[in-house]
C-alpha cells in the first residue's frame, strides 16, 4: 500500500472515531477513569480475613 493510501486510511479511521466516540465526553471520562481505582496492583477484597490457610486454599484453586 502506498504511503498516501496508508495516511488516508489512518485519517479515515481517526475521523470515524472522532464522530463515533463523541458520545463519551472526554474531560469527565478522564477524571472518572483514573480517579481512585488503581487497577493493576490492588489487593483482593474477599470479605473475610486472608489468613495463610485461606491463601493456601486460593493458591490451590488458581488456574
Amino acid at each position: 500500500m502506498s504511503r498516501t493510501q496508508d495516511d488516508r486510511a489512518v485519517k479515515g479511521r481517526r475521523d470515524f472515531l472522532k464522530l463515533a466516540t463523541v458520545g463519551a465526553p472526554a474531560a469527565a471520562a478522564a477524571t472518572v477513569a483514573t480517579g481512585g481505582q488503581a487497577l493493576a496492583a490492588e489487593p483482593t477484597e474477599l470479605g473475610y480475613t486472608e489468613t495463610p490457610h485461606v491463601k493456601a486454599y486460593l493458591e490451590s484453586c488458581r488456574f
Binding site: 472515531l17 466516540t21 458520545g23 474531560a27 472518572v32 481512585g36 481505582q37 487497577l39 483482593t44
Partner: protein, 203 residues
C-alpha cells in the same frame, strides 16, 4: 483534557486516548463494584443522541440513584454468586462453553509477547472481560512499555475480544440481575461495534 493530553506519549492521538478512557471505564466497572467516589464521578457524565451517548446518559442516571451497597449486591449476583454468577464473562466460556480453555492459553501467549503479566493478587483467569479492557487501555496509552501500534492492537482485539465481547455485553444488557449494569452492557456493546468498524478501516 489538556492535562490528560500532556501525560500521553506523543504517538497517541486524541481519538485513541478517548478509546483508552472508554476501556478504562469498562474495566473499572467490570473488575469490581464501583466505590461511592467513583459513582459520584460517573453521575455527572453526559452523552449525545448516539447509542453510545445514550448508554452513558443511562449509566450516569443509574449512578445518581444507586448506592454502592446495592451495586455491590448486583455485581455479586451477576458475576460472583455461589460458585458462579448469572454471567461468566470469560472468553473461554463464550467461545468453547468451558472455562480455562484454549482461548485463555492463546491469550497468555500474546500477553507474554506484549509484555503483560497477570497480577500476583488476581485469582481469576486473565480472559475475563474486565482484564481484557484493562489490557486494551494499557496497550493504547503505553502502560506496559511503548504504546502498542494500532495494527497490533487490531490483531489482539480481533483474536481475543471481537469473537465474543458484543455477545457478552448484550447478555449483560438483558441479565435478570442487572439494573445499574444494564447501560454498562449498552456502552460495551456500542463501543465494541465502533472498535470493529474503526479497526477495519486500516489495512
Amino acid at each position: 483534557m489538556a492535562q490528560a493530553a500532556a501525560t500521553l506519549a506523543p504517538e497517541v492521538s486524541e481519538e485513541d486516548a478517548l478509546r483508552a478512557q472508554l476501556y478504562d471505564l469498562l474495566a473499572v466497572l467490570l473488575r469490581k463494584p464501583p466505590s461511592g467516589d467513583y459513582l459520584a464521578g460517573i453521575g455527572v457524565l453526559a452523552g449525545d443522541a448516539s447509542g453510545l451517548g445514550q448508554g452513558i446518559d443511562a449509566l450516569a442516571a443509574g449512578a445518581r440513584v444507586s448506592t454502592p451497597e446495592g451495586i455491590d449486591r448486583e455485581f455479586h449476583r451477576l458475576f460472583v454468586g455461589l460458585g458462579r454468577g448469572e454471567l461468566l464473562p470469560y472468553a473461554s466460556f463464550y467461545i468453547t462453553g468451558f472455562l480455562n480453555e484454549k482461548p485463555l492459553a492463546k491469550l497468555r501467549g500474546d500477553m507474554g509477547e506484549l509484555g503483560m503479566v497477570r497480577d500476583a493478587a488476581a485469582y481469576e483467569p486473565e480472559d475475563n472481560i474486565g482484564s481484557l479492557c484493562e489490557m486494551m487501555a494499557g496497550m493504547i496509552v503505553g502502560r506496559f512499555g511503548d504504546p502498542v501500534p494500532v495494527a497490533r492492537q487490531k490483531d489482539f482485539f480481533f483474536t481475543h475480544i471481537a469473537p465474543w465481547a458484543e455477545h457478552f455485553f448484550s447478555d449483560l444488557e438483558g441479565a435478570e440481575s442487572a439494573t445499574f449494569y444494564v447501560p454498562v452492557g449498552t456502552i460495551g456493546k456500542e463501543f465494541m461495534q465502533i472498535e470493529k468498524h474503526s479497526f477495519r478501516m486500516i489495512d
